[in-house]
């Protein structure tokens, strides 16, 4: 199956250099990017990654009576292409801070406490409807190290592959109604308000299970459209 990749509308993607985020000015090219027409090399990509990387499942909120501290959430995510077709069988990597805003990472030296029952990283494969459910706790906000009072709002990181090299996506998902969303320099690097809104998940009615978990849904759209032979 062939995939068509079109240039994205710039306003729906983040600016590369962001005021108040000094690393962006050190690390993004000064020269204009070279515009290329994708060839077979960029219109193919790894489809069997699950044979290469270890899957970790989609439950990072604890096991048995060792539950992570925080608000339990079930996050239902659908991964679609630009035609709305589900992207099934693709590897998704997910990572986030714990409820106190601390990551499981040697570089995170924030004062917030670690939570031994919180796993912090999930890696799974979407089902044939492009869906997966993550069981986790709501991540805490945290101050950006060595910044001028910038706090990241609660957010969850996603890394996805899709069907071709150019459908690779690294993104972050936000929570509705968070006061810190309005000031976040990463979320607000996306100029288009509707595109920013699509980075925010939606609450659904709570789960009818013994935990009464909060339920959120989110949609992720990967680049690519079906290219049918004979059609432009």
């Amino acid at each position: 199956m062939k995939t068509l990749i079109r240039p994205r509308e710039e306003s729906t993607q983040p600016r590369r250099i962001v005021e108040g985020y000094p690393q962006t000015a050190q690390r993004n090219p000064a020269q204009p990017l070279v515009r290329r027409e994708p060839t077979l090399s960029e219109l193919t990509g790894p489809l069997e990654l699950a044979r290469r990387v270890k899957l970790l499942g989609g439950d990072i909120a604890g096991r048995g009576d060792k539950q992570a501290i925080g608000q339990l959430i079930h996050l239902k995510v659908r991964v679609l292409d630009e035609d709305g077709a589900p992207v099934g069988g693709t590897v998704v990597e997910i990572w986030q801070a714990n409820a106190a805003g601390r990551y499981i990472h040697p570089n995170d030296d924030d004062h917030a406490p670690v939570d031994a029952n919180f796993y912090g990283a999930a890696r799974l494969v979407t089902d044939e409807t492009g869906s997966f459910t993550l069981r986790t706790v709501k991540p805490g906000a945290y101050p950006v190290p060595a910044s001028d009072g910038w706090w990241r709002p609660p957010h969850i990181h996603f890394s996805l592959f899709g069907r071709v090299w150019l459908s690779r996506l690294v993104t972050q998902m936000y929570f509705p109604g968070e006061p810190l969303n309005a000031q976040d320099r990463i979320l607000n690097a996306v100029p288009d308000a509707a595109a920013r809104e699509r980075l925010v998940a939606r609450y659904l009615p709570p789960a009818a299970d013994p935990y009464n978990a909060l339920v959120l849904e989110h949609q992720i759209v990967l680049r690519g459209s079906a290219a049918t032979p004979g059609q432009p």
Binding site: R27, R36, S41, T44, G84, A121
Partner: protein, 183 residues
């Protein structure tokens, strides 16, 4: 739903806390798949990634995608994919060390249809709100993608340092900045 009706989700940085466990042991060795060796010439690619002031970047994620020794991509869009090497997936991931260095062990790619031999690179890091994409070539040759780059094309050509060793350094910004692509 109308073709192309949905807008691709906005990118964001991987940030400084990409889980180290996602750089799986052996993820930078493309020559083996489930214990079986791929066909072709084994090569090593080493490089160093620096920012504007020349400082090396630690924990930057480098991913590569390439065809097998015959130039076939393991993907149904490649008309020759039925002949693809069953023991070669074509994808790898590495994280840079404290000196900004990454390392891949792979198979020297063949020439895909209409292209010269090359390896696709992606870089992800704190401060990169969008993935940076570039391509490494093995020699200066009339490749349609390399031809888009005029005076800086030499920066996309890996340096042969030994029988099976190439270096491909990446400078994100500043003098001798690596050319990056948008598509």
């Amino acid at each position: 739903m109308k073709r192309g009706a949905l807008v691709p989700t906005g990118e964001a940085t991987v940030g400084p806390f990409f889980p180290p466990r996602y750089v799986d042991a052996g993820a930078n060795d493309l020559t083996q798949l489930e214990g079986r060796g791929a066909r072709g010439e084994v090569i090593e690619i080493r490089g160093r990634v620096v920012q504007d002031d020349g400082a090396p970047l630690e924990n930057l994620i480098v991913e590569i995608w390439q065809p097998d020794a015959q130039g076939i991509f393991r993907h149904p869009a490649d008309p020759r994919h039925a002949q693809a090497d069953p023991n070669f997936l074509g994808w790898g991931r590495a994280a840079t060390d404290q000196d900004g260095r990454y390392f891949f062990r792979t198979i020297r790619p063949g020439a895909p249809q209409g292209r010269e031999p090359h390896i696709n690179f992606m870089l992800m890091f704190s401060g990169l709100l969008r993935i940076l994409k570039t391509t490494m070539f093995f020699e200066d040759a009339p490749d349609p993608v390399l031809n888009l780059v005029s005076n800086r094309r030499h920066l996309l050509i890996g340096k042969k340092e030994g029988e099976n060793l190439y270096t491909f350094d990446v400078r994100l910004r500043g003098g001798n900045e690596t050319p990056f692509f948008d598509d």
